[in-house]
């Protein structure tokens, strides 16, 4: 308990102090990482806890951003609305998810990205077409713009991570773990596999769409080029690098993928060619992939194999 209280106090102190002591540049890096962590929390729930490999995350993120623009409502209305629509879209995917597994499901969800791209480009009355939309809600936040966004985004990150952790500990979480371990065995012991997958896709879609809405509002612009396949792959990289199926995966992974290149640029290779930064970052990814099966989360304590449950093994 003492350790938890000390960690909470340190986090609260950092939450207040960081925006006051950090440049706009680093705040923008942290804000983008925080928004990405919310989206990655959704994918971590879906792929890490429920074992459903999805390459369609970009479509959910983009949907959230466009909902935020199209509603014309304040952010506190737009984000929940985006989350609701994201959840509904997640449920729509479920019939495919029930019939498909692992790599075939990944290919099926890949189609979501292309469908999303088509809709974002062609439904011009809502999305603005190729030109996109720049009429997203302006948020009145305390302090300078990036300070306010930091104070807004990071509690939402904590809430998302806490939500996923709570779900993992709940009966739904145990059902997800069973589905991840073996769908047929789960069905035999009474788990409703279809409902469990539907819940996982809905929750994942909701978190992704909420992150997309925040991303659009933060930038003040949303266009179709923001939601390509590369974005889906980046989110998958976040949860894999962060330690898929662990509570901290989205935060650690999002910081690694979005903030580490900037850190390498400034600290490890300042003033050198940008290619040097890319080489350092690439080597870091290779090192994580090779040396730590549970990702870059250095605080994770490895368990002896004999006592680890099936649910603890990443399964993709």
């Amino acid at each position: 308990m003492k350790r938890t209280a000390a960690l909470a106090a340190a986090a609260a102190a950092l939450y207040i102090v960081i925006p006051l002591r950090t440049s706009d540049y680093w705040l923008s890096v942290l804000n983008l990482a925080g928004i990405a962590a919310i989206g990655a929390a959704g994918l971590n729930l879906l792929s890490g806890y429920c074992g459903q490999l999805s390459l369609g995350h970009a479509a959910f993120l983009g949907t959230g951003a466009y909902v935020c623009a199209a509603l014309g409502a304040p952010l506190w209305v737009a984000v929940p609305a985006a989350a609701l629509l994201g959840a509904a879209l997640g449920v729509l995917v479920t019939p495919f998810a029930v019939r498909l597994r692992t790599h075939t499901l990944a290919i099926a969800t890949l189609a979501l990205v292309f469908i999303g791209q088509h809709v974002f480009r062609e439904w011009t009355s809502v999305t603005g077409g190729n030109a996109g939309r720049s009429d997203l809600p302006v948020v009145d936040l305390p302090g300078a713009a990036d300070q306010g966004w930091f104070w807004l985004v990071w509690p939402l990150v904590a809430a998302s991570v806490a939500l996923v952790a709570a779900i993992a500990r709940s009966r739904l979480g145990r059902d997800m773990a069973a589905v991840r371990a073996d769908e047929r065995a789960a069905a035999v012991v009474g788990v409703n596999v279809a409902a469990t997958k539907a819940a996982a896709f809905a929750l994942s879609g909701a978190l992704a769409a909420a992150a997309g809405a925040l991303y659009g509002a933060y930038k003040g612009y949303v266009g179709p080029e923001d939601w390509g396949l590369l974005v889906s792959i980046q989110y998958l990289a976040m949860v894999l690098i962060g330690g898929i199926g662990t509570v901290k995966a989205p935060v650690v992974g999002a910081l690694f993928v979005t903030a580490l290149p900037r850190l390498v640029e400034e600290v490890v290779s300042p003033g050198t060619a940008p290619q040097v930064t890319q080489i350092f970052f690439g080597l870091a990814i290779v090192a994580v992939a090779s040396l730590r099966r549970r990702g870059v989360d250095v605080t994770a304590r490895p368990r002896p194999r004999s006592t680890a449950s099936c649910a603890d093994q990443p399964q993709l």
Partner: protein
């Protein structure tokens, strides 16, 4: 007597202080009284680095010359570029913008239509001016954007007018191929507007997604429509792929591409013969090395002195005259003794017409509603013997269709 003397001294002191204020602009973000720092947001890594690097080198050459030969802006303020790599990613560009914004007077370059669209809300919020390295017409009415060059719409309007009225295309079937993004939309808008003005229908329109590697569907679509000319808002790799597939299917129209769709390697590659026979490129200015155009001659002289190793490059020229535009606005700001952000906006709105001595068309500046972009384009044919693989067919072509194009 004492009191009047004191008053006179006080007045003289006040006048002196005022005079000092008039001679020396006060410090502002990016200006310390001696050096003007200007930001560059450009891809130095990734596939678009092939555009970002020469563009930035062109800007560097202009300011190297300005600093060395003229002593800088207004003869006394040296200009320094502060460059950050965006990797052509919107989120990276936004963070790099935040990194530079408080240390620069303005952004001398922001490369890429999608990148600039992401930056505009921040530029408007912070009141900072940026010059987009992109020819989208959307920039013309943006208060904080210092656009240069004839927009894509104008390029295709000139191209179609030339094809119809000067190259015997009046009764030919005109078609369009464009990437599904704002660049493709801009090309189509220009072509359709010109087609309406000229009374020529656009027989077929094909679109493709960036990253597509197979062009069988658009080739078949345009071939089935029996297109005599295909106006292409493509990137250079896509130009090559489309022309290659069309050739293999014996579909041999006249191709007209924007400069973005051209790469000098196309003039010498396996499709060189088709390119030389069938492809025109719409761009600006003149051929690399054409000393009859003053702007080109001056640039080559400065290049020989400050960057002798620079290879001929279309984007280098763009970067050079983009920096020239920025320098003209900074000169105006120096006249007004004001390098603050609102001062730069006022300088941009009162600078008058930006001139480029033939490297690009003149651009009339003022409040956003009063801005008039150039209507001139240059039509090139492919000639492998030329430095960029391009020989000028019509320099600074200004057709009726382009003159009549109305910017939203």
């Amino acid at each position: 007597m004492r009191r009047p003397t004191a008053v006179v001294i006080a007045l003289l002191l006040a006048a002196a202080v005022t005079a000092c204020g008039r001679d020396e602009p006060s410090a502002a973000p990016g200006f310390d009284g001696r050096t003007i720092k200007v930001g560059v947001l450009t891809p130095l890594t990734g596939p678009v680095a092939a555009v970002g690097k020469p563009l930035t080198a062109g800007g560097q050459l202009y300011f190297d010359w300005l600093n060395a030969e003229r002593g800088g802006v207004a003869g006394r303020y040296k200009v320094e570029l502060v460059t950050e790599d965006t990797a052509y990613r919107a989120d990276t560009a936004l963070s790099k913008y935040q990194k530079l914004k408080d240390g620069v007077v303005l952004f001398e370059q922001a490369l890429g239509t999608a990148i600039v669209k992401n930056l505009v809300p921040s530029l408007d919020r912070d009141g900072i001016v940026a010059s987009p390295a992109s020819l989208a017409a959307d920039w013309v009415r943006q208060r904080h954007l210092l656009a240069v060059g004839a927009p894509y719409q104008v390029q295709f309007a000139n191209a179609l007018d030339y094809y119809v009225n000067d190259a015997g295309g009046r009764d030919r079937r005109v078609c369009f191929l464009g990437v599904a993004n704002p660049y493709g939309d801009a090309g189509l808008a220009g072509l359709e507007a010109a087609a309406r003005a000229l009374g020529v229908p656009v027989a077929a329109t094909a679109r493709y997604n960036q990253g597509d590697t197979a062009f069988t569907a658009p080739v078949n679509q345009l071939s089935d429509a029996r297109c005599d000319a295909v106006f292409m808002a493509t990137f250079s790799g896509d130009t090559s792929r489309f022309v290659g597939e069309a050739e293999s299917r014996q579909f041999t129209p006249r191709y007209v591409v924007q400069a973005t769709g051209w790469d000098p390697s196309l003039a010498t590659g396996p499709l060189a013969a088709v390119m030389a026979r069938s492809l025109w490129v719409m761009g600006e200015g003149t051929e690399w090395g054409d000393r009859r155009v003053k702007g080109q001659a001056d640039m080559l002289d400065r290049l020989a002195r400050f960057a002798p190793g620079q290879a001929p490059d279309y984007y280098f020229v763009f970067g050079y005259y983009q920096a020239w535009a920025v320098a003209q606005v900074l000169e105006r700001a120096a006249e007004r003794n004001d390098f603050t952000r609102p001062g730069i906006v006022r300088a941009m709105e009162s600078v008058g017409t930006l001139r480029f001595d033939g490297l690009s068309g003149d651009y009339a500046y003022g409040p956003p509603a009063a801005r008039v972009p150039p209507r001139a384009s240059t039509l090139f044919s492919v000639d492998a013997a030329k430095p960029l693989g391009l020989a000028a067919l019509e320099v600074n072509l200004q057709t009726d269709a382009a003159r009549r194009y109305v910017f939203p």
